[in-house]
């Protein structure tokens, strides 16, 4: 066997971190490309949601000052990025179960590279979903009624939220025994969380306990922020709560808290996991 030199010039910690993170991102993207079920999840499901909700409920649900499709889209975006992020959790759990995490951990790579690669590639997946949804939305009559800058800010906010939430789910993924747990948990927790919100119906139509929950629900703030930035608010009064009156600030605070808390927790957790 030929000798291989392992000492390479000009590797500083930052370029190592960047290059390792990119190597793992690329691996995850190849996986997505080669497993059709993931593409279905990312592409077909959002299209289906947009079409089903706008066409089935569109005629029945009245929204003050705008039509249902305008109202709906921000809700669908928020729901999709929240669910899309759970993929980070199930994928981490699967990698752990299959032993590839052991392989990574036995290599002299940057300790955060696997997590960076995971959350990066899921951001790409979420971005693809978002683009497909927007195209579908435009096809069924959704329109952006704000400036290009506001539109981009809205897209950025949704994606940043999905990225931060990916870290939360990644920590969960490393803590559970099997990938199925994540899928079940996301079904049990995220469905109520996204549905008992202002995503699909105005929250003032809900019975009082659910209405209070919906108004304080962080998903509602995300939806409200996206509606504002896309100019899809309508004329319905916004609940008189700080988080709903200042949805963009609320979402930014949420993103910051998620990143500040969960990035270090994830890196610490990663340093001790193994497919025992």
């Amino acid at each position: 066997m030929s000798a291989i030199s392992t000492t390479l010039p000009s590797w500083n910690p930052f370029s190592l971190w960047y290059s390792d993170g990119w190597t793992v991102t690329k691996r995850n993207l190849i996986k997505i490309k080669r497993s059709p079920d993931m593409l279905v999840f990312a592409v077909i499901q959002p299209v289906m949601f947009v079409l089903l909700f706008s066409q089935v409920y569109g005629g029945a649900i009245q929204v003050q000052g705008t039509d249902y499709t305008q109202f709906l889209m921000a809700g669908i975006f928020a729901q999709t990025v929240v669910f899309g992020s759970t993929f980070s959790g199930s994928a981490m759990a699967l990698d752990l179960k299959e032993g590839i995490i052991d392989r990574f951990r036995s290599l002299p790579m940057s300790s955060s590279a696997v997590l960076i690669g995971r959350t990066n590639s899921d951001l790409v997946l979420n971005t693809i979903s978002m683009v497909i949804m927007m195209a579908t939305g435009l096809a069924v009559g959704w329109r952006v009624n704000s400036s290009p800058a506001e539109f981009l800010a809205g897209v950025g906010l949704l994606l940043l939220f999905s990225y931060a939430f990916s870290w939360v789910m990644a920590l969960l993924g490393m803590s559970v025994k099997s990938p199925e747990v994540i899928n079940n948990a996301s079904f049990l927790i995220l469905f109520p969380l996204t549905f008992v919100s202002n995503a699909f119906v105005p929250s003032d139509t809900l019975p009082t306990p659910l209405r209070i929950f919906a108004e304080w629900n962080p998903v509602s703030s995300l939806v409200q922020a996206a509606r504002q930035l896309f100019g899809n608010e309508g004329t319905a009064p916004v609940p008189d709560i700080w988080t709903m009156q200042h949805p963009i600030q609320t979402v930014l605070i949420g993103i910051t808290v998620m990143l500040v808390v969960f990035v270090p927790l994830c890196i610490r957790k990663f340093a001790s996991i193994s497919s025992r």
Binding site: I30, A113, S274
Partner: protein
């Protein structure tokens, strides 16, 4: 033999030095002592096998030495580097091939190896060159550009092993390299490993196959319940249980024939004969093999006991294990092995 000590006081003729390693896991049925004070020392350039049944602690040792888990107590050095204090430095010089072929199913063989090369920081061009070399070396050229999903068990193991050799590691860890392979793939993989060993790579391998340890290792460490219970060369271990084994198979075990044959074997052998459950197979350790065989055959003939088969064999490591632990190497597993069982399921459902 001369010993050289470096500044850390580590014997540089020894590449792996572990002392008093312990690890306790919590489980539903109480604490499980995966390792209960295990010592291990591997000379540079040698091949050492950790031999033991499922749940003996072999994988735990490998995971500690490869920096995947930390010991509760004890110390371990690989090439003089403390695995707990400086795991990254250890990772730069080792190659690991695990029990369950840790390769990415959706990536091709080539992509898997290229990725590993990049993560060893060889840089893109060198990583690609090395990946192709290994693909060719492991005779995977035709399959190298297909996703690993479609590989046979033997091909998967070869890609996994290739992943451990992307750098020329100072120490190669092979955790049950052939578990689950069919006999033909097992022998093929043994030949690959033997070629590596001939190049002078230090190897620490774990196995529950006695024959595998016998085939590949210079030195065997027998592990049971998280401890070393015996150590030595294959021949030394075999010598512990005497010379040859004499075996006879009776045509009919009825009418006192089995008891009579047992008496005869006890008379000419060393120690108690072992009788199979149907009473037809008997064996005993003997010192002067050929002479004992003559005597036994004559005595059995005089007693009118008919034989299917009779013969002598060299003791196997199975005999050693039975003698050392009082149970066979493939003993039925108890609660302590929940994790191992889980992993087996994980492999099946893949």
């Amino acid at each position: 033999m001369y010993n050289v000590h470096n500044s850390a006081g580590i014997d540089t003729m020894t590449i792996i030095e572990a002392t008093g390693l312990t690890k306790t896991y919590r489980s539903k049925s109480g604490p499980v002592h995966a390792l209960a004070g295990l010592d291990l020392s591997v000379p540079r350039g040698s091949v050492k096998a950790l031999l033991g049944p499922n749940g003996a602690g072999k994988t735990t040792v490998v995971k500690m030495l490869t920096t995947l888990i930390r010991p509760d107590s004890g110390t371990a050095f690989v090439d003089g580097i403390d695995v707990v204090a400086d795991p990254k430095a250890v990772r730069r010089i080792i190659g690991v091939s695990g029990q369950y072929a840790a390769v990415d199913e959706n990536l091709t063989g080539f992509e898997n190896l290229e990725m590993v090369g990049r993560l060893y920081h060889l840089g893109g061009p060198a990583a690609r060159r090395r990946a192709q070399e290994l693909i060719d070396l492991f005779e995977l050229t035709a399959a190298g550009n297909r996703p690993v999903k479609g590989f046979s068990g033997g091909m998967r193991r070869r890609i996994d092993l290739a992943g451990a050799l992307v750098i020329n590691p100072k120490v190669l860890f092979l955790d049950e390299p052939t578990t689950g392979l069919d006999p033909r793939s097992r022998i093929a993989l043994w030949n690959v490993i033997k070629r590596l060993v001939a190049d002078g790579t230090t190897v620490l391998l774990t196995t529950q196959y006695l024959e595998e340890a016998d085939q590949l290792a210079d030195d065997i460490v027998v592990v049971d319940d998280g401890r070393v219970i015996a150590e030595g060369t294959s021949d030394q271990l075999k010598a512990q249980i005497g010379g040859h084994r004499l075996e006879v198979a009776l045509v009919d075990a009825g009418a006192g024939a089995s008891e009579a044959a047992r008496g005869i074997l006890a008379r000419f052998g060393d120690g108690e004969p072992i009788v199979t459950s149907d009473g037809r197979g008997l064996e005993v350790a003997v010192t002067d093999g050929p002479l004992a065989l003559q005597h036994v055959l004559a005595a059995l003939g005089d007693a009118g006991i008919e034989l299917h088969d009779a013969g002598m064999r060299r003791p196997t490591l199975d005999d050693v294990f039975l003698k050392l632990t009082g149970h066979k190497a493939d003993k039925a597993q108890g609660a302590a092995d929940d994790d191992t069982l889980d992993k087996k399921e994980a492999v099946k459902t893949r």
